[in-house]
Symmetry: C2
C-alpha cells in the first residue's frame, strides 16, 4: 500500500456480454472455452490498464464459476497474472461452511490439498471473503488455513445492499444489532494476531454506502482492515470513507469494479485509458482523505 500509495482494489467482475470491445474473440472451440479465453483477456487488459494505480484485485468468483471448468482455469490464470503484476489478490467468494467442508474451501483458496497423487495447490490468494452466519466454528478453518499461509480473511460484517436490513440490521435483545455482534466476533478472533502495522488478520467487509455504519464498525473493530465495496454504481463516495482510515492508511481497501471497467462509457477515450484515469483519480482521492 505504501509503495503504491493506493488503497484501491480493482474488482474483476467480467460479464462475457460486456467485455471491452477492442478485444478479439477466440476464433474457435466450445462456447465455455471461448468465453473463458475472452474473460481472461479482458481481465489481463484491465490489470494492464489500471493495475498500476491499485494495490489489489478482487475477482468475483461467481463470474468464473458460471463458465464451468474453463472458468476456474481462467480464474487461476488471472490470479497468477495479478500477482506477477505485484498486486494482492482478494478472492470475493463469500464462502461459509463448517469443519472439513470449510477446510476444503479454504484449501481451494489459500492452501494446498494433499492427495495420493501429489499435492494440489489452491488459488494462492492473499485474502478471501467469508460469510460468518454459521458462527465461530465456520470461521476457524478459514482462519487456520489463512494463518498457515500468511493470508487473511475478511468477514462479511455490514454489507452494502438494501437487503442487509433484513438480517444484519436486526436489533438484538441486548440493544445491539446482529452485524455489531459479528463485528465483535471479528475483533475477538483477530486480537491475538496483530502485526507491526497494528492490523489483525481478520478484516471486515463494511459497505461504503452508509458512512454511519463505518464509524460504528471502526469503534468495534479498531484493528481490522475494512474492505469497502459500494463506491460508484451503488452510490458510495470515497470522500465519506475517512472513518475507515482512523487507525492508519492501511485501514481501508476500497473496492471498485464498474466505475473503472466502464469508465469509458462516461468519459472520453478508449476503455484502457479511461480505466487508468479513473483508477488514478480514485487512488489520489483516497490517499488524500486517508492521510
Amino acid at each position: 500500500m505504501r509503495e503504491r500509495e493506493s488503497q484501491i482494489v480493482l474488482g474483476l467482475d467480467p460479464d462475457p456480454m460486456a467485455l471491452w470491445p477492442s478485444l478479439d474473440a477466440p476464433a474457435a472451440g466450445p462456447p465455455p472455452r471461448r468465453a473463458a479465453a475472452a474473460v481472461t483477456a479482458h481481465c489481463r487488459a484491465l490489470i494492464d490498464a489500471a493495475g498500476i494505480a491499485c494495490v489489489a484485485v478482487k475477482p468475483q468468483l461467481a463470474r468464473f464459476e458460471a463458465l464451468g471448468a474453463p472458468g476456474w482455469e481462467a480464474l487461476q490464470t488471472v490470479v497468477g497474472y495479478a500477482r506477477s503484476a505485484g498486486l494482492l489478490v482478494i478472492a470475493d467468494c463469500k464462502r461459509g461452511d463448517i469443519d472439513v467442508t470449510a477446510r476444503a474451501y479454504a484449501t481451494a483458496l489459500m492452501g494446498t490439498l494433499e492427495t495420493p497423487f501429489g499435492p494440489v495447490a489452491g488459488l494462492g490468494v492473499d485474502m478471501a471473503t467469508v460469510n460468518p452466519l454459521m458462527g465461530g466454528d465456520a470461521i476457524a478453518p478459514f482462519l487456520q488455513t489463512a494463518r498457515a499461509s500468511g493470508s487473511a480473511v475478511l468477514l462479511l460484517v455490514r454489507t452494502s445492499n438494501p437487503g442487509a436490513a433484513d438480517v444484519e440490521d436486526l436489533e438484538l435483545a441486548g440493544g445491539d444489532l446482529v452485524w455489531e455482534r459479528i463485528a465483535v466476533l471479528a475483533e475477538e478472533l483477530g486480537r491475538s494476531h496483530v502485526d507491526g502495522s497494528g492490523f489483525s488478520d481478520v478484516g471486515a467487509v463494511v459497505g461504503a454506502t452508509a458512512p454511519e455504519h463505518l464509524r460504528r464498525a471502526r469503534q468495534l473493530m479498531p484493528r481490522s482492515v475494512f474492505l469497502l465495496p459500494g463506491v460508484g454504481a451503488q452510490g458510495g463516495r470515497v470522500e465519506d470513507l475517512a472513518p475507515a482510515f482512523v487507525p492508519g492508511r492501511a485501514g481501508g481497501l476500497i473496492a471498485v469494479s464498474r466505475s473503472i471497467a466502464k469508465a469509458h462509457e462516461a468519459a472520453d477515450g478508449d476503455p484502457a485509458s479511461a480505466a487508468r484515469a479513473e483508477a488514478e483519480r480514485l487512488r489520489e482521492l483516497a490517499w488524500r482523505i486517508s492521510g
Copy 2:
C-alpha cells in the same frame, strides 16, 4: 420420493485421501487431474452402490473446488451421472451474494449463461443451498433463476454445528431468535409458489442434531421441504426427525454422507455392500417414521 420410497440424500463429500480402497488410481497425469479422476470414480461407485436407496445426491462443492478446474469438471460429470441414475441433485454450496453476482452463482448452478460465443450451460442441479445473511435481495436472484428452471432453493435456517449458537441463535429485541426470523423470511418467499404436494420451492436447511429446533422450524415454515444434515457422525438420529414430516412424507430430505460412504469401517463387507446396506437401513427407517 414416492417412487423410491426414500427421503435419503447421499452426500458426496470426497476426500482424495479417503476414497474407497478398491478403486484403481489413474496411472499418469498431473496430480489435480489424477485426483479428480479418482474422485469421479469414487462418487460413481458410491452412486452405483447406494443410489438405489436414495432420492437425491448432495455434492459438497468445496471438495471439488479444492481440485481446481479438473475438480469442477469432475463435479459436472458426477452431477450428470447422478441424474442419469434417476437421482435429484442438491448442490451444497451455501452461496450468498447480491445482484449480478448472485445471478452469476445461480446461473452456474441452475441456469444458462448467454455469451457472445453461444450459451454456456450451468450444472443443472435441482436444488442449491443458499446463505441468507445478506437478506432478501441476496436470495431473490437465486429464487428467480430457480423458478425459471423448475429448481428450488434451500435457505440455511438453523444449521447443525455448535457455532450456530454464535449468530443464528442470538435473541432479538422482539423475543424471537435470528434463525426464527430467517425462517419467517423463507416462509414468506415461498408462500406464493406452493405446488400440488403442498410444498413451496423455498426449502430450509435445519440441523438434525436438535429436534427441539425442528418442531419450531416446522411451525414457522409449514410448507418448506427441510434438508436435514447431521445424522450419523454429528450425532443426529433418524428416529428424532418425525416433526419434519408432519405435513407429509416429502417434508424432509435426510442428508447422510460419512455413515454411508464409511459404513464398511463399522460393519463387515466391502465398501459398496456396506454402503448399500446402510443406505437401505436408513431409507426403511425414515420411511417408517415419516408415514
